[in-house]
Amino acid sequence: MRALVESFGVDYIQWRALVRAYVWIDYAALFGAFGRVEARRRAVQLALAWGFLSLLGLGLAGTVWSARDPFLAALLVITTMMMWAGMMVLTQQAGLAAPDDHELIGFRPVASRTFFAVRLTALMVPALETIALAGWLPVVAFLTRADGSFRVALAAGVAFTASAIFVTLAVVALFGWLLRVVPPARLTRALSYAGGAAGITLVAGMMFGMQHFTETDDPGAWLTTIVPRDWRTMWFPPAWFAAYIPIASGTGRATDFTVASLSLVVLVAVSAVLRGRVSTDYVARVATFASLSMPRAPVGRTWRRITDERRAVALLVWSHLRRDVRFQMAIATNVAMGVIFTVTSSSFKTSGADPFDAGEAAAVAPLFALLFVPTQIYHTLVGSSGHGASWLFFSTPTDRTRLVVGARDAVGVFILLPVSLLLAGFYMYRFSHPVHAFLHATFLGLMAYASLQLNVLLTPRLPFSVPMTGLHRSSGIPIYSTILLMLIGAPFFVLFQLFAYRSALHAAIGLVALVLVITTLNRYTRRRVDRRTSSLVYIP
């Protein structure tokens, strides 16, 4: 390990010390650093996250067991894995341009390349962790297939790991390059746009793939048409790693060897890029970025009619939406992904189709977006690198319930409402039935709000009050919340959708019922938040 690290010009002792510290910081809560209650909570979260990822892995393992061609099975699994790893790295890329530890490490004798390597490792660990948890079952599947063997399973494990490493290195190289070439004043915006665009591309690609996959009677045949097993495979990065499988099973063709060797070439090439000025100039660029002055903020909104804590929260959320590029992009990316999921539906046949005509398939599809997007937005709102400022909520005579509920409503007004209007416009164009379009968009908007309500109900938190520390920043809590929402919210949403899209009359009844549910949830939320917020503590 030491030789490998030092071969990249990295100071092994410093790298090891910092990585150990970060890994420990990441797991400190689990081992009781913040008390037994927090340790138990983290353990439950971790177990659920592990369960969730293993469940996803089980789905992929099913593909491996049932596919005729192990190469195509590996291709599918690796494509998915690379997307997950890419998303994991993208959600944490802010740590590259504005590392929290620069103030602490910046004046110590840590060379730029070492500091860069530490940041890279911090991004790679969660990506590899995700792949390990989601990938162990597919590896077992490669071992236990009729034509499986230990060698093939080992090759699958290596392929999964190498593909995750490649994705991480590629994303880091992209952002490291941007850090070098974009003027510091535009850097935050450029990085955020790049992150958003990459995220949206990944999700859109995944949706596109899923649609094709589910539409085809023979997925293997479809894969062969888009990824023919000849030299054209070279253009599809997952194939570089999937080619390890036929080679390990002894059925490799010349194309497989060529394509597999490409994976080594790109890994070496990306490593060489990272070893160059991207890493040697890194600290200087981070220092320049850190000392950048912020442009003067324009005068904020007055909103004279909104008073008390709701005003404070509305101003806070609004100012973040206006001026905090990271917050903006986190929200924009989530909203864009949600809109893509919502309008593309689960299959091409029903994509953007009027659910009143196309049936439940078109209506049930947005479920994932409804559960996942408000959860992500809520956690973006709650977690903040400036969480220390939340001492104000604890040291002033504020009604914390109003703060929590006010934050939820601010998200509803500033984000969910405009998105619903946008969807209404899209459906008006698409359905050529204005009433259906209005009802469908209203339904989606209200259900997204109900999902947000459920999030607040399950884990009430003050806005911008939870630290985003360690390597995992955003992975744990949303998965935990998503699982709870799936258990609690999914049946509710499905029932509503199955009932409401039978006719316009059913929809009208459904809407009234939904409003009643939201009102009831609102009351219950206030009561529960009242009880729970007294136990919230300031996290310095």
Binding site: W24, I105, F107, P109, A287
Partner: protein
């Protein structure tokens, strides 16, 4: 030694530090004074290699900070104004990590952190998480981390912030002794009486520019002030304290 030559830093085209010339010799405890926003922290952050200068040179321990940042950082002990710590680590664990960053061998690192932890009165809490530490205890850890590698040059930005009277007394003595051993010490603070007591020379900056330099006595005499406070107030355009107090009270009574 520490030297700056026409050091300049601009924020949004406004100078935070402008053409600043400083020269601090080994054995000196150099006081760096200025009102809020005068450019003190910007200067020390440039000297510590945390942020780049816009123009000019900063030389620490004989090395240009821009050209040889690692050589500077190996010889520098720095206490930032608002220090950050890894809150999940223990005091001992944190100093262990810091020791590794300076390439101290494990035995030396352990011996030094044992000494520092005991000397700063943190022995009983050495295995407690830093997040449970009070402000003063955290400041002790920060100071210990600035001393663990035996630096030639010390740059301290408000180092007494949060320290109890006894520790502050120990620190004052420590700084004098370290200077006597030939270390170069830059001491940035708002607390004039502390600066006056321990610093051999003082520089006052305002609006990023140097407005006075010399011993406390020389500054007082040059500006015909009875105290350093008075000289500081005149130099930095401060209004009469009693008048400001009266104005604030009047404003509070109005609204």
């Amino acid at each position: 030694m520490i030297r700056t030559e026409r050091l300049t830093k601009l924020y949004d085209r406004k100078p935070a530090v402008l053409d600043l010339d400083l020269s601090i010799q080994p054995g000196e405890v150099f006081g760096f004074l200025g009102p809020n926003g005068a450019g003190k922290s910007t200067t020390v952050n440039i000297l510590a290699g945390l942020i780049p200068a816009y123009s000019g040179r900063a030389i620490v321990a004989g090395y240009d900070v821009a050209d040889h940042p690692l050589e500077v950082k190996r010889r520098l002990g720095f206490v930032p104004e608002t220090p950050r710590l890894y809150d999940s680590l223990t005091a001992d664990g944190f100093l262990d990590v810091m020791g590794a960053l300076y390439h101290l061998d494990p035995g030396t690192s352990k011996a030094r952190r044992n000494d520092l932890i005991e000397l700063f009165g943190l022995g009983d809490v050495r295995n407690q998480r830093l997040r449970e530490f009070s402000k003063g205890m955290r400041q002790k850890v920060v100071i210990a981390s600035a001393l663990i590698h035996r630096p030639e040059v010390l740059i301290l930005d408000e180092p007494f912030d949060g320290l109890d009277a006894n520790t502050a007394l120990v620190m004052k003595g420590l700084l004098r002794e370290m200077a006597a051993q030939g270390k170069t010490i830059l001491f940035s603070s708002h607390v004039l009486e502390v600066v006056e007591r321990i610093c051999t020379r003082i520089c006052i900056i305002d609006g990023g520019r140097k407005v006075a330099e010399g011993s406390a006595e020389q500054i007082r005499m040059n500006f015909r002030a009875a105290t350093l406070d008075e000289a500081f107030s005149r130099l930095t355009g401060g209004r009469e304290a009693s008048q400001v107090t009266a104005d604030i009270l009047a404003a509070l009574a109005r609204s």
